[in-house]
């Protein structure tokens, strides 16, 4: 055994296996990230994209973004509101479903499997589906709400500044529920049944064993689910772009859609790069904190 271990240790042959993938990622991810940083300190627009004459203008793009209008601050705020709202609801529903399907009844496995479907649908299509369902006159959601008497008039969900955000949040929760459910369900299976049995012998009721056993033992899973969920939700792009394109009047503008708009609708590439960079730095810091946390947990 020792020899085998030694054989595999300190063997640089490994680098040859890794090199092709690493080179690819450095070329198409690493280099673009650096390029994006450089772009954000230049002034590249449709005019000077081709001739290559690009002056460095320091932090001007960033300063302009924060001071010229309030779209960036609105986007930052919207991104945060969107992310936190989605996380709260998809986590609660996902958790409830995970606990429910953890019971061994005849349909538990097949039905839980089918519930994964929403997570796999291409997000463009999810956006299309919910744009249709939230339609003012054609939408089934207005019909349901009218039938049960919650609204009297049709609501202009996606074309009014107050309701567009709740509508896109609703659509994203639909995508996020399966993700939360399956991860929490996996966490639940690790908890030994004996713990619940001995707790009930000791006179604990179901609620007590939930708070005293399930929640503390699930803590690592819950933390992973929430942090990963935050990262995935914070970078939302397709869904909002398809449903509202950030409108109306920037009411659903998030960092990624704003960056896209600046670069590819207004052709202010450097400004778009600067917004993308702000998004990148936020996510990078959160990712690093998360990874550091996971690694220290694993080593402990």
């Amino acid at each position: 055994m020792k020899n085998i271990k030694k054989f595999f240790k300190y063997d640089n042959a490994g680098i040859f296996f890794v090199l092709p993938a690493l080179a690819y990622m450095l070329a198409f991810v690493g280099y673009p990230i650096i390029y994006n940083f450089i772009l954000s300190f230049q002034d590249v627009t449709a005019r000077n994209l081709k001739n290559g004459i690009r002056d460095f203008i320091g932090f001007k793009n960033y300063i302009d973004l924060f001071t010229q209008d309030n779209v960036l601050t609105a986007s930052l705020w919207n991104t945060l509101v969107f992310t936190v709202s989605c996380l709260v609801f998809q986590f609660i529903v996902g958790f409830a479903l995970a606990v429910f399907f953890n019971k061994k009844f005849a349909f538990s496995k097949p039905v839980r499997g089918l519930l994964m479907m929403p997570w796999m649908i291409p997000i463009t299509i999810t956006g299309l589906i919910f744009k249709f369902m939230f339609g003012t006159d054609v939408g089934i959601i207005n019909y349901f709400l009218k039938t049960i008497g919650l609204i009297g008039e049709n609501v202009e969900w996606l074309t009014s500044t107050t309701t567009a955000m709740p509508a896109v949040i609703f659509a994203n929760i639909w995508i996020g529920i399966p993700f939360n459910m399956i991860l929490i369900a996996t966490g639940l299976t690790i908890i030994p049944t004996e713990l619940y049995e001995s707790a009930s012998i000791d006179g604990a009721n179901k609620l007590q064993s939930f708070w005293r056993i399930t929640v503390p033992l699930l803590k690592p899973t819950i933390e992973s689910v929430l942090i990963l969920g935050f990262i995935y939700t914070f970078k939302v792009y397709d869904l909002i772009y398809v449903m509202t394109s950030g409108g109306p009047v920037n009411s659903t503008q998030v960092l990624s859609t704003y960056s896209y708009k600046l670069s590819f609708e207004m052709f202010k590439y450097s400004k778009g790069a600067a917004v993308a960079n702000i998004l990148f730095v936020i996510l990078f810091l959160i990712s690093l904190a998360y990874l550091k946390y996971v690694y220290t947990e694993e080593e402990a």
């Binding site: 595999f8 300190y10 063997d11 042959a13 490994g14 680098i15 296996f17 890794v18 092709p20 690819y24 990622m25 198409f28 280099y31 673009p32 990230i33 390029y35 994006n36 019971k103 061994k104 009844f105 349909f107 538990s108 039905v111 499997g113 089918l114 519930l115 994964m116 479907m117 796999m120 649908i121 291409p122 997000i123 463009t124 299509i125 299309l128 249709f132 369902m133 054609v138 019909y143 639909w174 993700f179 996996t186 639940l188 908890i191 049944t193 619940y196 914070f234 970078k235 792009y237 398809v242 960056s259 896209y260 670069s263 778009g272 790069a273 917004v275 960079n277 990148f280 990712s287 990874l291």
Partner: protein, 282 residues
């Protein structure tokens, strides 16, 4: 909560009924677009809405065969080419990389793992503008290659991280035996380890395909011509032009979902294992 506790018959029945209700509510949107795609344009706008088409109308699908504006089946083919190519690149690069990381200790290994972990969490927007300019300079703009190359960057880190765990779980004695039988490091990897890690390789293939299939941003940004665009970008474009043509739009949606649904039905166990192992470990 007890995982192994058998439920009584009546409780079992109640749980089954509740689970079916949950299923109906959560999957209703999918049912709804399928039904809508089979209705006539007039019936779609009818109030109260019909929950099953009064007249079965396949026209929204049939008209695609000779429509000039946006040919759905053509775009479907584009998406297939793009997704299968991106999947191939991701798998071919990720399989050896994950093996190297799982089995060998070399300088900078931790840093390399970190690179893959962080890139998995990257927002698409960060790469869009720089890749757009890069592809223009490389004359890859408005070709399949640009989108294929960009889509593969999503599949690679995911695949490396999943497969790393697969390879790490294979007993090292197997390789030792292969060396005794005259294999070198590379032939041992090809002939012994890849076959054993096959389920993991399938998971990676599926996810790399699905990531590319679902991509909108790259396909829309790097390909200009409608006839070269993947189906997602084509649909988005169509939405911009004919936003209320819901009979066609829902038909496009159904066609785009078909490969996903097939993969889902045929390979469900791989998908769940991919989601849980990939996501929790980040």
């Amino acid at each position: 909560m007890g995982a192994e506790v058998k439920l009584s018959k009546s409780k079992n029945a109640i749980y089954c009924i509740v689970s079916i209700l949950v299923l109906c509510i959560l999957l209703f949107p999918l049912y709804w677009i399928l039904v809508t795609s089979l209705k006539t344009e007039k019936e779609i706008f009818q109030i109260p809405p019909t929950f099953w088409p009064g007249v079965l109308n396949l026209n929204s699908y049939m008209v695609q065969f000779n429509s000039g504006d946006f040919n759905m089946f053509h775009s479907f083919g584009n998406s297939m080419i793009i997704s299968l190519s991106a999947m191939s690149i991701a798998v071919v690069l990720a399989v050896p990389a994950s093996y190297g990381i799982a089995r060998y200790a070399f300088a900078g290994k931790r840093g390399i793992i970190l690179i893959f972990l962080v890139t998995q969490m990257l927002p698409v927007s960060v790469l869009l503008t720089p890749l757009f300019i890069m592809f223009k300079n490389m004359h890859l703009y408005n070709t399949f290659f640009s989108t294929i190359l960009a889509d593969a960057t999503i599949g690679i880190p995911f695949s490396v991280l999943i497969l790393k765990n697969y390879f790490a779980s294979i007993p090292k004695e197997l390789e030792e035996a292969a060396y005794i039988d005259g294999c070198n490091k590379f032939t041992a990897f090809l002939r012994v380890l890849i076959p054993i890690a096959k389920p993991g390789v399938i998971v990676c293939g599926i996810f790399s395909f699905l990531y590319a299939w679902g991509d909108l941003a790259y396909g829309m940004t790097f390909i200009l011509d409608q006839e070269k665009r993947p189906i997602t970008a084509g649909i988005f474009n169509f939405m911009g032009q004919y936003g209320t043509k819901w009979s066609y739009l829902t038909a496009f949606a159904v066609v785009t979902i078909i490969p996903v649904a097939l993969i889902f039905i045929l390979m469900q166990k791989y998908i769940i294992s991919g989601m849980t192992s990939g996501a929790v470990k980040g």
